[in-house]
Symmetry: C2
Subunit: 428 residues, 2 copies
């Protein structure tokens, strides 16, 4: 959803250090650019080079059996996340372990041999954001934050407001004031502290970074606790592998907004290999963008390394990040694994939504429509091997972006309440 401008890490120091084991087997925050290590805390930018920080671990031995004995949510992977061992005891929304659906109808439609839909629309607030927010909540708690917060226009706001309510934390969600009323309501039901900001999402985001820098004890999930938050997306990768019977798929198609999710699925696969939980094998990762906000796809096609920021103009608003923080890492992963980054038009996004609904009974939002449409385009352009096992990730649900398809579907017939009127339709 949101890629904050990376700034110097001048945020709240914890008054006392976090408790022993507060971040599980995480040992440091490591810079993705220069490798410099910073101690675990509310930091997100490298003090040496201002590069983005990522959680580094020293994992213990972890077995499949230990994981399988865990709860039916992301905490079954707690040993691989920056969370304490007693994480299940703290009130949280219990996201994850969502369906991995065998998608035979969609596969047949697209000419694929074996296809799965990883369906994150059935998370507590109906998007994958519940995963990352659950990890951010744990960090906020362990860092003794007094306020749980985010800037957002949609899914993230829902997830933060819900998780904060359940945790009994003061929760403040910042949204652009011109956001549709229905979307405001979907967050406002959970919290009295929804703040509307007169400006666009970038303005809201900038304000959040400013507050994170000025105020003590604010945990902005996607700003100053972003390294912990982002780790939550690894669970999508873990679940795909476990639900396939502890093996990696050949190809995965993943939507790209900030790019974080795609990089974390790759990280998850690498960790599972390193830990001996799955066999080492090649896999290809593909990124999906909407044409109206496709800076990563554009760089991929132009065969360049730099991402040129764009001004988003697409119905896939949850993917509309014009300057994606992890875009360069997405490029690297998709190229290294033999995948690709592709984009589709808004009309193709709408078709993607209907295609998934009609073949597999999954009603996705515009981000999922984008991903399914890109899957189709990858097949049609020969960039994806149709004989290989493929997973497509659905990150959210269609009720949140109903307008995208509202004028495309409706009753086949309107009839009088009689059997004769019905038979006259020819539907019988």
């Amino acid at each position: 959803m949101s890629a904050p401008t990376i700034e110097t890490s001048t945020t709240t120091p914890a008054t006392a250090g976090p408790r022993e084991g507060a971040f599980g087997h995480a040992v440091a925050l490591a810079c993705r650019e220069c490798g410099h290590r910073t101690e675990l805390g509310p930091h997100y930018a490298c003090p040496e080079c201002f590069g983005p920080l990522e959680v580094a671990y020293e994992f213990p031995a972890v077995t499949r059996e230990e994981i399988e004995a865990g709860p039916s949510n992301i905490w079954r992977y707690k040993a691989l996340l920056p969370v304490p061992d007693d994480i299940e005891q703290s009130p949280n929304t219990e996201p994850g372990f969502t369906r991995l659906l065998p998608a035979k109808n969609l596969a047949a439609e697209l000419g694929l041999d074996r296809l799965w839909v990883k369906d994150d629309s059935t998370n507590p607030t109906n998007s994958f954001k519940d995963r990352v927010v659950a990890c951010a909540l744990s960090a906020a708690r362990e860092l003794d934050a007094k306020v749980f917060a985010c800037p957002s226009t949609g899914n993230l706001a829902n997830a933060v407001a819900a998780a904060g309510a359940r945790a009994g934390m003061k929760t403040v969600v910042f949204i652009p004031s011109n956001l549709e009323h229905a979307k405001q309501v979907n967050s406002a039901v959970y919290t009295d502290s929804l703040v509307a900001v007169d400006g666009n999402y970038d303005d809201v985001n900038k304000l959040a970074s400013e507050i994170a820098g000025e105020e003590d004890g604010w945990a902005f999930v996607n700003v100053n606790v972003r390294p912990y938050y982002a780790e939550g997306s690894k669970t999508l990768g873990y679940e795909i592998a476990e639900q396939l019977g502890w093996r990696l798929p050949d190809q995965v198609v993943i939507p790209v907004a900030s790019g974080s999710q795609l990089t974390k699925v790759d990280k998850a696969f690498q960790e599972l290999i390193t830990l001996g939980l799955v066999e080492d094998k090649p896999y290809r990762i593909y990124g999906a963008q909407a044409e109206g906000c496709s800076p990563v796809s554009a760089a991929y096609k132009a065969k360049v390394d730099a991402i040129r920021p764009v001004k988003p103009d697409t119905i896939a608003k949850s993917l509309a990040i014009g300057n994606p923080a992890d875009g360069i890492y997405v490029l690297d992963i998709c190229r290294r694994t033999g995948g690709a980054v592709e984009d589709v038009t808004d009309d193709q996004v709408r078709e993607g939504i209907l295609l998934l609904a009609r073949t597999e009974g999954v009603f996705t939002e515009t981000a999922g429509g984008t991903t399914v449409a890109v899957l189709r385009k990858l097949v049609e352009t020969g960039q994806l091997d149709t004989s290989l096992e493929t997973v497509v990730i659905n990150t959210g649900m269609g009720l949140k972006t109903l307008d995208a398809v509202a004028d495309r579907v409706g009753p086949a017939a309107t009839i009088a309440p009689s059997y004769d009127a019905f038979t006259a339709t020819g539907i019988a």
Copy 2:
């Protein structure tokens, strides 16, 4: 959602009988009134007395371990459902095994010692209907039906359209033509065969019964395969018991529309006791209705056995069945177990929605708001023992009935995008 007028069981006979094991360990359809047994088939009314038919079983020995080794959906209980042993292999939406959330905040707010929310809003189409529809789909398939269908105004339509799409079956959903456009879209995304009927829900329902009687091979989930369909609700009871660590709760609060769900939770508890999967102990079952459609609550309060049909007038539309088919059984169960049936006003329903969202981060629809509000009223009126462990069931999700709370919540402040403007709000 829907309680069809019970009619003579003149529906489609299967051309050949169903395959061996088509209905698992089910052995017959038994009349709930006179006990007469009918063979398994597309029948729903007793040929002797026109009473409602219910699935009867001869269960094998079933262990906790066998269930726990099953999938994270309702098919872990397949040995206790009228489905074949290979049910997981047939495309279905894989509903169930939803969260049982410890609800400490809500408990504290209401003055309860131990409270859980069984949250069915995270099912594939966001209501408990996915459970019953999955069982109906299996019956339709085993009975070789050519069309999968239902009359509905909401949740059931979504669930049937999605399950039918995924199963690759011809699916026809009948709705009143004056249904809000957004609700039509939410079903129409899945199917080309949405039929709008000029009339109210009763007219639509009557038309469905007529088609079921006239046409060969139509499986109307809540009409001619209703006995199989209804069994799906038992899984709510099984899951509550398993998720509590294989024991029954002391008190359960359940919404009442047709009343089927409440009776099936009781049936599930009884089966678990009989099978030795949980210890036999007393439990109380409470029914929740909205005042604008409270025929069962009215009968309970009047201490009578007969349900007097009403014309529904409430925002809790998914509970608005004026002549509930299982109302008399609800009365019997609530009285026998020492529970009660209670009702609340539409304003209390709205407060119930916000109460659950703000305490536990669960955004429910009006049916869930009704159930939470009834829970509160039962506490306030001393009908529920606050020292006993209680479970409240949330059957659906708030995005489907957003209007109910849309004018009650919103931003706490609207500000300019500056730190000074933010601090002036006093929220920091």
